[in-house]
Subunit: 340 residues, 4 copies
């Protein structure tokens, strides 16, 4: 990993410092770039909410060689991890690799590692085009995320995404409120439950599944269940849309309680290593999405970088499972959380 | 804004560093100057009390293009923001622009931005004279704040201020206790409720309104209601009079509860961006006052600087309203506050 | 004060940095010297316990020109402040002034400022001798503190101190546990209640009063009442004897409650300015002792330095009384404390 | 100690900075080396959990010359302290002294100081061989700790250790999860209660005692009692196996409660000075183990370094006993803990 990070630091110069700990401090306010919006408190809250979680170490058990595989949204995953949908290599990451190279690295690297990669959306169009091409190349094994556009653009994007052969579609409603896009004449916006429901019905009509990304409260979780989402992603969009949102790990337990098994709960925000993955599962998630570290691995080492990062995560997750006495992913419950 | 802040940093050299985050750390103890008194803990508490407030992000709704206009004290404001009364450009800000230029920038810039500016008071007399002239030039659209002088000076100032055509008068009782003014033979002091009542009766006799600035406890809020104030400003005077006061955001909910709609609640202290404005409204304020950032904008860019700063605030406030599902200012309630 | 502190910084080089805020961080572990023992956590806890206390600012009242005078242990004091007993100029403060000059500055400066100074004890004997000489020169207006020696040394010291004409005697039991003194053949030790009682009876027989310094728990407060002490000093000895003791402001409320008016409560530990004095009174103290800042003032400006420091404190205390609506020292109660 | 630490800093260059306060910050992630795993949060939590504990200072009593001797696991100890089992001088500490010199310093220095030293295990074999040789040289006065190997290696090690003449054996189950050892074909793993019971029965059959190291929860404490362990060590393995474990001082009270006297409770993690030892006893431990500081003393001064460090600890512990009114180790109870 050191080699990949060193290379990434060189490639992303001026856009990401590839810090020892990726915590939003050095890059506060750098949007575009890899930072959090404003004071970057939402980015930092993701890290600090996770850091407050402590684990019960247990060694008197038989979980010697645990199994971290899982099934999420019908995908058989080697571990409960997905690559988050991120795009805009040129203006966020320095542009030393192309959008196509990036999307290929993320989607291909994820697949090779036994997990699944998501691809992003934005302006200009080559962002989603690169993503869809990567999914296409991987026989539909990848999940396109579409921004909450106003008007026809939304439906058009779904049609385009469908052509990749993918079996799951996502919308990141947390991308709304980007006034800059509105000013460019390409408005994104919050969506009423009935608007989301219409989209979901369409997707279900295709026999596919739908992920609603950007849920941060129990009440909107209940709305997500009502409109028929197959999964939500608990996310403050990496702290890039609203300053002073809580960390996702802080809202996750309340959301998991509100779900009560009616849909899959995915979470992103500040997950850096395998222990963080285990924490999120213990707090109620079914799987996690990882953003910035995957981007850094992709820029620093293309597909091989992504694979290496996922391999590292897997080793850490397995070790954490051993040390908390968790033989399977199902064993990772609140039992592993230390409470004072 | 970057250009304005860079210019301000140059103009205010030795008086204000125009830090990336204006939090009272670098300038602790610099009174006169732009700092907080003593350890500057009251200044810092303003920031930290606000920083502790976290927001519920919500995207499943129809608040796509929110309206942030409001009515406070009879003024139709484009957003619930006022420029705080600050004076003393020469000894607080470096004196590279004149008191007149400063007052014109604040009052004129506020008006142009659809909000309203307040002007300060002090020694020497050109401080309030500059302020009154600016209000006069803007046809009475501005609010004069008068220090709690002892003796005849208080009434004389009110008469002078009245001549500007203004329709609202303020007294910042939190300016009392400035022993230096007493030593200069120009004592300011706390005021008994009956003294404030007499002033308010006079102002009401003129058909004008009265703002009492410097309320930090529920019991004095009740006194403000009893003596007939039209509005209070919850304020620790920017941390410049009493070290170790709580941040205004920490006392605001208790005060808002004590008011129960009987007068308008304005608050200042540590508000830096539009998200902070939304937080203060959610904690119970009807409007906010902003001090140091407006001063920096005025010194760095005169009226245009103030307008630019207010435009930035508006964009941030609107974005925060979208991301918390607040179509109007009235929708910004405790519903948007995250509680652990 | 700036001049005095600059001079002190020069005079105390290698022993005290005369930091902007005297908080025990830079000098951690420097005993001898001016620091706290070990990690200096007890020193730092003194500061942080005080820093956690926040004040209710109130301005709607008539406390315009407050009176901070008080009566403690029969002394009429201009304000509720005493200079703490400190000695050992040569090994703690750099030795650029003599022990005699130091004691004269503290005792004389305190008297001139309308408060009272205490003098310390230690090895070699010139420490207490300098202190007693200073009290003698000031016609007995000063308080000698004697370490809790084992054997005859204790009684001998009391007899010697009596000759100064002083009317109050103190013992700082918190000095016990200094194993180094024991190793030098001059053991100090904790004292059983009956041992303290015998001392107090002797002192009372002389028509004088007795202060027991180093009480940090309610149970030992009750013992102090039982054995007849006229006053206690709540103190962790400036963090110089036991690492990881709480700050004195943290234990003060519990102790004040245990006292219920049966003796005077004096407190030291981290008091730097007049607002800190007001805080300690609000937490239950009748008066405060100030240590390091007085030493710095004495080394930096001799008697004039001490007087200047006390004048500064008085201005700050009076301003804090105005801003909290406290006309007299008796008005400084829990009413002025902000609680979240 | 200063001389020893200076020498150690030179000898351990590149492996340990011998910081003023050994708190896991500078060396975060340095495993191998002396740091904590990953973000080193478990290492840092050990320190912070201890730092949160504050002490009641008491001086009105007769505990003038306290006695800190104790009996643990049948050993008469001059104080309730043991040297933790640590090995791997070459890859953890820089290799400027040999594994034999190191083990001799720890075991011999502990014995000379009236306490007892433990020795570690690992790959390559010279680690345990050096330890066993040191115990042998000291006539069996030392405790071998064996890693939780899979298969025959575990029993073989016990047999080898038995030959040293030792009367107590330990297993650090917290060493499990080291996937690197598994990858080297030398797997360590958690152990089921019945596996531990079999080991304990064997050891008891030899007339010896058994310590189970790495217990961090009350439920595994109860398992330890059930399988017949004579003592447990509450330990997160110095933060070297699982990131984000709580500090041992945070879990100790719950564990001590679960034990209710049925076995001895030893604790390690962040203990640096004699006050820390007193804190751990007050939180419920019967004795403590000290790791990194003993290693530093051994590398910096061989046996003499270890003896000097233990002498320093003893002085600090005795002083802390005087200042908390603890005549014997049994007097160190929750009575000495300050609670807010």
């Amino acid at each position: 990993m050191k080699e990949i990070k060193d290379k990434a630091r060189e490639m992303m110069k001026g856009f990401c410092r590839v810090c020892k700990v990726c915590d939003g401090k050095a890059c506060a306010g750098e949007v575009p770039g890899m930072g959090g919006l404003g004071t970057a408190s939402s980015f930092k809250n993701n890290l600090s909410a996770l850091a407050e979680v402590k684990l019960n170490m247990r060694l008197l058990h038989g979980a010697t060689e645990p199994d971290c595989s899982t099934k999420v949204l019908g995908y058989d995953l080697a571990m409960p991890i997905m690559a988050a949908p991120i795009g805009g290599v040129s203006f966020n990451m320095g542009g030393k690799i192309t959008e196509d190279e990036y999307a290929d690295a993320v989607v291909g690297g994820s697949k090779a590692a036994g997990v699944i990669g998501c691809v992003g959306d934005g302006v200009p169009p080559f962002i989603h085009e690169a993503g869809y091409a990567a999914i296409d190349k991987n026989d539909g094994y990848g999940i396109p995320f579409i921004k909450p556009w106003e008007g026809e653009e939304l439906e058009e994007k779904f049609e385009k995404a469908k052509a990749t052969g993918c079996t799951t579609f996502g919308v990141d409603v947390d991308a709304a409120g980007l006034i800059t896009l509105r000013q460019m004449g390409r408005p994104v916006s919050p969506k009423k439950p009935e608007e989301i429901k219409a989209l979901i019905d369409t997707v279900h009509g295709w026999g596919a599944k739908f992920i609603l990304k950007g849920i941060m409260t129990p009440d909107e979780t209940e709305l997500a269940v009502e409109v028929g989402a197959d999964a939500i992603v608990v996310s403050n969009h990496g702290g890039r849309v609203l300053d002073h949102a809580p960390g996702s790990a802080a809202v996750l337990p309340g959301i998991a309680k509100a779900v009560s098994g009616k849909l899959d709960v995915i979470v992103d925000g500040g997950i850096r290593d395998g222990v963080d993955v285990l924490k999120m599962l213990a707090l109620g998630a079914d799987a996690v999405m990882i953003g910035r570290p995957v981007s850094i691995a992709a820029v620093g080492g293309l597909q091989e970088g992504v694979e290496t990062y996922f391999a590292t995560l897997k080793g850490q997750l397995l070790q954490a499972m051993v040390l908390t006495g968790s033989q399977t992913v199902e064993d990772i419950t609140s039992r592993v959380l230390f409470s004072e």
